[in-house]
Amino acid sequence: MQKEMAYSFPDEVLKHVFSFIQSDKDRNAVSLVCKSWYEIERWCRRKVFIGNCYAVSPRMVIRRFPEVRSIELKGKPHFADFNLVPDGWGGYVLQWIAEMAGAYPWLGEIRLKRMVVTDESLELIAKSFKNFKVLVLFSCEGFSTDGLAAIAASCKNLRELDLRESEVDDLSGHWLAQFPETCTSLVSLNISCLGSDEVSFSALERLVDRCPNLRSLQLNRAVTLDKIANILRRAPQLVDFGTGNYAAELQPDVFSNLAGAFSSCKELKSLSGFWDVVPAYLPALYSICPRLTSLNLSYATIQSPDLIKLVSHCPRLQRLLVLDYVEDSGLEELASSCKDLQELRVFPSDPFGVEPNVSLTEQGLVAVSLGCPKLQSVLYFCRRMSNAALVTIAQNCPNLTRFRLCIIEPKTPDYLTLDPLDAGFGAIVEHCKDLRRLSLSGLLTDHVFEYIGTYGKKLEMLSVAFAGDSDLGLHHVLSGCESLRKLEIRDCPFGDKALLANAAKLETMRSLWMSSCAVSFGACKLLGQKMPKLNVEVIDETEPPDSRPESYPVDKLYIYRSVAGPRFDMPPFVWSMDEAVKILH
């Protein structure tokens, strides 16, 4: 029995103190101190983050936290980005919206990632929340411009509408005109994902005109270069801007107009867009380049010389996204010009070509690692790598927190020695003690997993493809990586043993994805039986897993911890290994 300390603080005071505690981790800790703190805390928690929408039910969230104003939900597993999760798998937001509509009338912010959002959901949001301010739909799908029209029309104080990387059904471009004339509150608008005729440009101009606080605007590809100047002149306070199409016949008056418009934006720090770039128009940016901290040129199919020229004007660059047209020479220039670089992403221009189409190799990344001491986050697609290069990179950049390397051809060995790349990745995890995210590629044996298990103590997310020799590899990771939250594996010879031996570990993680591996149906059933706090789901689009012998490997497996039990919205090709569900079947 706990002797109650004489808390001379009334609840109100504690509440006030707690209001300064924003991080979820700290709030969770606060709630564990004692019952009264749990109670006080839960009444004043305003923001909830749910990393897996199936880990908990809406009812449970509402019951514990009755006064939430902001919610963030994530749905499909990450590999859905690469078409590994069949359509109809799940991640529907409607049920959440429906329940929150009744429970949280003051809900102001909804952020969703990889969820299915219907027009019905959007209409419900528009109808239910009078103080709605922020809607972020990151990589979502299932809605059309009709749903957007409902949001625009009803949300009088909308601050943020961000549709980044979502798939939207084009029905009409006039939804933008639904923002009432009285709406002047927009701070951020990202419509870069919309297809051609989905935006009424005049409505957009008028909207930009009447929103003096607009800081972030990402246009879509349909907006042509000649229109950019008009928009920029209406919004010189922009901090973050995404151009549309950056192509036009070179005309001096268009150029000077554009250059002038850019130079009038004294606070512009971040640029993106740049579809179909005509290099001759890049110098229009030169006046703002010295201030730029973030540049996304990953749609710009321009060659290395033009990229080099642009980048050399941006000494303050912290973040660069670019296609591999930048080549090693461009990255060497980057390394010498941009000493503040923290994040680099290099995407492949010809991902399915057999032969390299550009001169981009491991050398480019090595150069950046040498020249940019603040480098923390790397995503790099290339066609060859060596252990020596990886060791050099690891030694040059001990502060890496995210390292994702994709050598395009699976199982590619060290091109110099023909060895597996175990030692190279081993060096990465050994030297980069704060590494939180790692994606592997190339020829890899169980040894690399031994290194990862030994050194990857802060690793939270690991992505593995075409790697390893046996269950030992998986066992190293599950038994060694103390901070592991998300593990996604495809096409690896990992089977039942490691999984069953480390079943308890799975309850400490958010989720595990395994596809085209060697986990048997029998093992999945066993796991489902023994671990009630895990949802073990088998995905098979061809036939029911129990129509084959139990020793047969399953096609795809998704395991996640949950306090909500098995979900009710599984499509026919998803089977729950939960005992209770099986009985009902």
């Binding site: 590999f79 980005d81 690469f82 078409n83 590994l84 990387e165 798939e167 994902c193 042509t224 192509a247 016949e249 070179l250 579809w275 290099p279 001759a280 990953s298 749609y299 199919t301 060659q303 296609l323 047209y325 995407f347 492949p348 221009s349 010809d350 991902p351 399915f352 070509g353 057999v354 032969e355 189409n357 550009v358 697609f381 994709c406 395009i408 699976p410 994606s439 992505s463 493809a465 495809r490 096409d491």
Partner: protein
């Protein structure tokens, strides 16, 4: 004569390309006078004279593409959709274009990237084909010569070499043709109208 008339090789030629790749040339149908200038001078040309067909040649000679593994490399669909189709080798490591000359029974290939401007290009062409291009002026094109350098641009139009800024030329030139002066004069009229054409928003 310098070129075949209306053999319409397009319609009959066999291709290894995907069905859609013939669209480019179909889209560029323009008045007959101009079109006739596009006709391939020699049968050998028919497989590879334009960018579309040269892609097909790449497919012929390059190793067969591997069967694609689903979801690999790990790139999001919208990124794949945003990339232009694989550029033919000429566009990355050098800008190789074919050069023909009316009356000459052979073709040559040159890399536009090695030249810094029109002066150097013209000198090289003159050396290659042993002719003199004459004086260029914006108003009147090439004066006082039997031969006139022309080029076919991305839109399928035949233009006078020298009319547009060098960089734009190297980005849009698909092939060169040194025309007989008499043919070029007819071309000159159409070329003068090019300003209007070029202003339309490109696809």
């Amino acid at each position: 004569m310098a070129f075949e008339k209306d053999l319409n090789l397009d319609a009959t030629e066999l291709r290894l390309g995907l069905p859609g790749t013939s669209d480019e040339s179909a889209k560029n149908q323009t008045p007959a006078t101009l079109r006739s200038n596009n006709k391939r001078a020699l049968p050998e040309e028919s497989m590879s004279s334009n960018a579309t067909a040269s892609k097909n040649c790449d497919q012929e000679t390059a190793p067969l593409p591997k069967a694609q593994v689903i979801g690999w490399p790990p790139i999001r669909s919208y990124r794949k959709n945003n990339l232009q189709p694989k550029k033919s080798e000429g566009e990355i490591s050098g800008i190789y274009v074919k050069v023909s000359m009316d009356g000459a029974p052979y073709l040559r290939k040159i890399d536009l990237k090695v030249f810094k401007g029109y002066q150097e290009l013209l000198k090289a062409l003159e050396d290659m084909f042993k002719f003199k291009a004459g004086e260029y002026s914006e108003r009147e094109g090439y004066n006082g010569s039997e031969f006139v350098p022309t080029y076919e641009d991305k839109d399928g139009d035949w233009m006078l070499v020298g009319d547009v800024p060098w960089e734009m030329f190297t980005n849009s030139c698909k092939k060169l043709r040194i025309m007989k002066g008499s043919e070029a004069r007819g071309l000159g009229c159409v070329v003068l109208k090019k300003g209007r054409k070029k202003n339309s928003p490109s696809a």
